[in-house]
Amino acid sequence: MSEITPDLVRHLANLARIDVNDQEVELFAEQISLIVDSMATVKAAVQGDVPATSHPIPMSNVFREDVVEPSLTQAEALSGSADSGDGRFRVHAILDGE
């Protein structure tokens, strides 16, 4: 059995900033356990010294010259936001108020 406990699901959901209720926690723990158990075969697949592949087509040294390109206007930048003011994106307080 896998180690995906409800508490772990709660912790992971918190890391991923997703509210989850108790019912979802139970369901996800069950489903993700099943998935993780079946995905755990990868651990056994690799023997010896095998390098990891992070990019399917190997390339290196792809650069951009340090040349200015047009930016968005302030209005364009803010156009998709739920709330803005003073030319900036407005968000709720970061810390809990007293």
Binding site: L15, S60, V62, V68, G87
Partner: protein, 500 residues
């Protein structure tokens, strides 16, 4: 903010060994950001230097700025680091509203430069070798402004505003290995180390290196352990200390604070702390927790950086001289006494004086103006002398005007205020405002006659050789001519008159 108990500094050092570690973030002065073509510019209207990439719109992808890579390699080389054959960007995942993508593109297990060292001299003249663990590239975050609440601080704010102009600006983070053995000089060493980093990146031309603008930011790690103990003590990390003086004070404060706790048997909490310049104290920030799982993984949208040997050697050939060597050289060239030179270094005026001297001024004149009048003006305006809007070339011009007898010291000080007010170069100010000393005999004789009218005995006194009597007349003439009289010529004319 609860008041911390502090142990007497000397007593703390008697009981504990200090270990420090420094993380310095250097903001590069590239034209554009790290991963997009937006301008890397300080002080523009909010959210005007932004694009789909740096505000993290869905679908956008990063593209690496070549000059930022070159700058980071140069910094690595200047710090005596090895340059990695493969450097790789990774994603550091955490949520924060100033982080547009909610991950920071950074270098994790494959930094571009590693294993370097830097010789650092502290004010006492002692020299320490600081081992550099790594220098890696990463992107800056946006700027948060906290609105509402009583203090305008993050605590108690009603809401916050985000400006992403700075988001994606390239940074090089330089991390030291633990630094042992600085003892009582640990705070000075911390500040001197950051000063050296600033000198290096300025000399390389890769950063504006202005601490007050956040171009160079320092996080200081401090831990204590009883003398003779092998195991390192728990450290705290004081964040974003933004002046050399603050670094020194913050390290000193943490030593005293931690010593008081340890002496009482209280454990140090591993946490970030914030420095408060006004209170001269640090306060508790966020403790380390399991929420700090950054889930680093290689950035799939960027390919590795594999600098060729030729490229590295090309950059190595362009390195400027090391700060310590440069200091030795210029002190000898300028002929400054040790104390004079230390003042210059501590005021961060090496560049200014070098520029002034190379514009033709005598080294002592350059030193006098920068550490004297200009430092005084900066101080009175609560500013850094290096921030004054005057160049070394302009100071040299001022010195040349005095040398040529066009102005005197008093006039020169007046000229300076107008130069600083943006009225032009010293020569332009002198011309525009007519501040030249008057050595035109006609005007001077008229002024002398007017002054003598009130004190007819003076001429007799001069004739009898009592020259001090002349002072009063010279003073009166100067006063009448608002300081612009050529005092030497007035004296000559007075003697002529007495003897005629």
């Amino acid at each position: 903010m609860a008041k911390d108990e502090l142990m007497n500094y000397e007593k703390a050092l008697e009981q504990f060994e200090v270990v420090i570690g420094l993380e310095v973030h250097v903001e590069l002065n590239t034209n554009t950001k790290m991963f997009c073509g937006c301008r890397n510019e300080f002080g523009d209207e909010p959210n005007t230097n932004v694009c789909p990439i740096c505000i993290g719109l869905p679908g956008s992808l990063p593209a690496v700025n070549k000059r930022a890579i070159e700058s980071s390699i140069s910094i690595g080389l200047a710090l005596g680091c090895q340059i990695a054959p493969t450097g790789r960007f990774s994603r550091k995942n955490y949520f924060y509203p100033d982080l547009a993508k909610n991950f920071q593109t950074s270098q994790y297990d494959e930094p571009i430069a590693f294993e370097g060292s830097l010789e650092v001299e502290v004010p006492s003249g002692n020299t320490f070798t600081v081992a550099i663990e790594r220098a890696h590239m990463e992107e800056d975050a946006g700027k948060l402004t906290h609105v509402g609440g009583s203090t305008g601080r993050i605590q108690g704010a009603e809401y916050s505003l985000v400006d992403y102009n700075r988001a994606g600006v390239p940074l090089v983070e330089i991390v030291t290995k633990p630094v042992y053995g600085a003892g009582a000089e640990a705070p000075e060493l911390a500040a001197a180390y950051v000063r050296s980093i600033r000198e290096i990146v300025k000399a390389l031309g890769v950063s504006d290196a202005k601490m007050e603008r956040g171009n160079v930011r320092c996080d200081a790690n401090v831990s204590l352990r009883p003398h003779g103990q092998e195991k390192l003590g728990t450290r705290t990390e004081t964040k974003n200390v933004n002046s050399l003086r603050s670094i020194e004070r913050a390290v000193r404060y943490e030593i005293q604070r931690q010593a008081a706790l340890l002496a009482k048997g209280t454990a140090i909490i591993q946490e970030t702390r914030h420095w408060h310049e006004d209170k001269g104290a640090t306060s508790s920030g966020r403790p380390k927790s399991d929420a700090d799982d950054y889930r680093y993984f290689p950035e799939p949208d960027l390919v590795p950086v594999q600098p060729s040997k030729e490229w590295i050697e090309e950059l190595r050939a362009k390195l400027p001289e090391q700060p310590a060597a440069r200091r030795k050289r210029v002190q000898a060239e300028w002929g400054f006494a040790d104390l004079e030179f230390r003042d210059v270094v501590n005021a961060d005026l090496l560049d200014q004086i070098e520029e002034t001297v190379s514009a033709g001024a005598k080294p002592q004149d350059a030193r006098k103006w920068w550490t004297g009048e200009l430092a005084r003006i900066a101080n009175s305006q609560d500013q850094n002398v290096t921030e004054l809007p005057i160049s070394g070339a302009q100071v040299a011009e001022l010195a040349a005007l005095i040398e040529a007898g066009k102005i005197n010291d008093r006039l020169a000080r007046e000229v300076l205020t107008y130069v600083l007010a943006g009225e032009g170069s010293p020569a332009e100010v002198v011309t525009a405002r007519g501040l030249e000393v008057v050595s035109d005999d006609g005007a001077l004789i008229a002024a002398i006659d007017a002054a003598l009218a009130g004190q007819p005995d003076v001429l007799d006194a001069i004739r009898e050789g009592r020259m001090q009597a002349a002072g009063a007349v010279i003073g009166a003439v100067m006063k009448a001519m608002k300081g612009s009289a050529d005092a030497g010529r007035v004296r000559e004319l007075l003697i002529e008159k007495a003897n005629s």
